[in-house]
């Protein structure tokens, strides 16, 4: 226990004195958290520039245009006179969509004939594309329902029946967990956590090999009394504590300042984060033990961690990916963490629901630590079998024998 504590203190001193450790563990997290929170601070998408091509120029077409204009999502900035004009404006990024109201729009509707309104959407940006469709469709369907209602009433149908004919299936949508489709509440927690796991792994890959590079490993082994487990525990503990501090910073400061709601209970949330921290440290330490060159280990860590966000199924669901990508996703601790995080953070689901993800994360702690232990044990035996360390090991044994 004393040896673990000594190594822990030593590691804290290393973190405080090494510039790259200090920057990545203590400076980068708040900077990156702040940056992500700022990026999506505006929250909603409003006033998307669109054009209206009105070929009818009647009272009804103008009414329709006023309805589009009243949607907070769009703002009408141009009045083109052809489809070509619309394409040219979109090409210059002056508009992201357009509506075309055809000739005889009012006349056709008055004479009980149908009329077609065309939506032009720039789908090269999916966000604009889907938001505009929603805004356009909402207005047009409301107008449709209004026209139907008036027509049915005009033919002597009871108002209630007319309403039921205009809208036979009343669809009541209950959007749970992020009802306003707030982009900040959706994306920022994911971005913060993915950045967090990346920082943990990028530093963890340097924990052991830096000792070899700096020729301080023998001293470390001496402090651990030759015990691999003591060494691993002493090295892990400070990083675990700093990880937890960053979690508290994330929720206690940034969520509060940027009004990101948390539906979670503290205990399952902290358990989940603790397991993520340990899993990242375990993987990093395993790499650090195997690859003695720090730069090479960092390169590998970068390749391994940087795809975590897209592969985890955060923005694009896992089930839509090919099987090999799904398999790769399952090899990263961020994937089960994210599943659990959604359940805890937004859905406030119970332990039962969280358990499979915790078990999955548990494997990421158990397997890499076991590998790291085995490899380090072999390397320690080699170190102990020659030179300096062997002599102090013998010295320790002699002391013990003398005491006995």
């Amino acid at each position: 226990m004393k040896a673990i504590w000594k190594i822990t203190l030593r590691e804290f001193k290393i973190i405080a004195s090494k510039r790259s450790y200090f920057v990545i563990l203590l400076i980068f997290p708040p900077v990156v958290f702040l940056l992500y929170s700022f990026i999506y601070n505006s929250q909603g998408l409003k006033n998307i520039p669109i054009a209206v091509w009105d070929e009818d120029k009647t009272e009804l077409s103008r009414f329709l245009i006023r309805q589009y204009q009243s949607s907070p999502m769009v703002t009408i900035v141009a009045n083109p006179t052809s489809a070509n004009d619309i394409e040219n404006l979109a090409r210059k990024n002056e508009i992201h969509g357009a509506v075309h109201i055809p000739k005889n729009f009012e006349a056709n509707l008055k004479s009980f004939k149908g009329s077609t309104v065309t939506f032009y959407r720039n789908t090269s940006n999916l966000i604009f594309g889907s938001m505009l469709y929603k805004a356009f469709a909402q207005v047009t369907l409301t107008i449709n329902a209004g026209i139907l209602l008036e027509r049915f009433k005009a033919t002597g149908v009871e108002p209630e029946t007319a309403m039921n004919l205009a809208n036979p299936i009343r669809l009541h949508v209950n959007s749970l967990y992020n009802p306003t489709y707030n982009y900040q509440n959706y994306l920022v927690p994911g971005l913060m956590t993915v950045g967090f796991q990346m920082m943990l792994i990028m530093i963890a890959v340097l924990i052991i090999n830096s000792e070899w590079e700096n020729n301080t490993y023998n001293k470390l082994l001496q402090m651990s009394n030759g015990s691999t487990i003591t060494l691993l525990m002493g090295k892990t503990f400070p990083h675990f504590i700093i990880g937890l501090i960053n979690v508290v910073l994330m929720f206690g400061v940034f969520y509060a300042v940027f009004n990101i709601p948390i539906n979670a209970e503290v205990v399952p949330l902290m358990v989940l984060f603790s397991m993520l921290i340990l899993a990242c440290l375990a993987i990093g330490i395993m790499v650090s033990v195997i690859f003695t060159e720090a730069l090479m280990a960092s390169d590998l860590a970068l390749f391994y961690t940087s795809p975590a966000f897209v592969f985890s199924g955060f923005t694009f669901p896992k089930w839509a990916m090919p099987w090999y990508d799904q398999f790769y996703a399952s090899l990263m601790p961020y994937t089960p963490f994210l599943m659990g995080f959604f359940k805890v953070y937004q859905m406030n689901a119970g332990w039962n629901s969280l358990l499979p993800d915790l078990i999955h994360l548990g494997w990421f702690i158990l397997i890499p630590y076991s590998i790291a232990f085995a490899v380090l044990k072999i390397k320690n035996t080699r170190v102990l079998s020659d030179g300096e360390v062997r002599s102090w090991k013998i010295g320790v044994r002699r002391d013990v024998e003398t005491k006995n």
Binding site: T123, R151, S175, F303, A320
Partner: protein
Amino acid sequence: MLKSILIKLTLREASRVAKDHTLILSLLFAPIFYAFFYGSIYINKTEKEVSIIIVDNDHSDASRTFIRMIDESQIVEVAIVTEDMNEAKLQFLHTKVQGIVHIPKNFEADLKGIKGTDVKMFLNTSRFLPSNDINQTVHEIALIIGAGVRLKYHQMHGSNSTQSLERAMPVSIDDHTLFVLPSTYGGFLLPGLLLLILQQTFLIGMTESIAREREQKTVRNWLKQSGGSIWKSIWGKSLFFLILYAAYSLFFHVVNYHVLDLPINGSIGLLVVLLTVFFLVLAMFGTFFGTLFSKEIWALQFFAFSSYPIFLASGYSWPLFTLNPVIQAFAFILPTTPVLEAYIGVVYKNASIIDIQYNLAHLLLLGFCYGGLAWWRMKKLSTLEISAQSNEV
């Protein structure tokens, strides 16, 4: 003279890369691996089989038709049909399904009796894409069934088929996609992603290489081989990266675009011009940042953490004009911002040079600024090297 110095420095760089396995990993393995690996996620382009559970309390022909129509849709899959709302809630909480649709008792009877019926839908909006897809699909199907109810009503009241159809849906919608574009998530993300892979691996490789010069104290040798000229030393190193990334660009646009079935609607000539200007700017950007790091590993760490913030701030995923002014200012100084807009313009929208003139001007401005900064940093480094040399003497 200039030509021979540039060739000499390019060969020197190639030899340094060949001897450094981390640079080989960053420059030769990473771009190809990332391009195929990331690209493969979106190979299906759009999500499919978004699972929902349906609570059917009616068990009628109409409810079964409603369920069948949802299940036959391109994206949504009806995973379970049940009568028990509690079971549905459990499946929903365990995230086995992304939504619940509840069909009430008397669904068919109420539709036939023109009483209207209330269908409830519960969506897990913690993720946008699946919830949006379910919402849109179920809405569209409800509208189709609603139009069918009106169609029957009009037919029963003496209208012929055409009149009934027109009267059932007075204003119909024609949804038209601008340009010839894949309106899918993969289609939207992949071009930006491929360009970002090129950018980040270029920057990691170049900054690592320059930081390594400092770490291994070979700056003097680098400058000596350029005849003491700062610009020649910068261009000599950059030329290697420019040649390598010209090859990658060709490969990505021929092979990856083909494999991922992405269109190139614009002029190839303009694309070449845009990418050339972009890589020249990146060379200046990379030189400037590379000289700031005295250790290779620091350069790697810095650019490893910069990928996500750079991409997100560039306005590709969320429109730039809605972002915080501080972030907009940050985005302005990144080459990623103008190049992504121009790149999508050329590749997808068949934009002309006039359409992307401001993006090109923005890129050139950044090129001059970072070029100046790169020169200043290199000058400083050379001064340090000379003073180090005189101290040694």
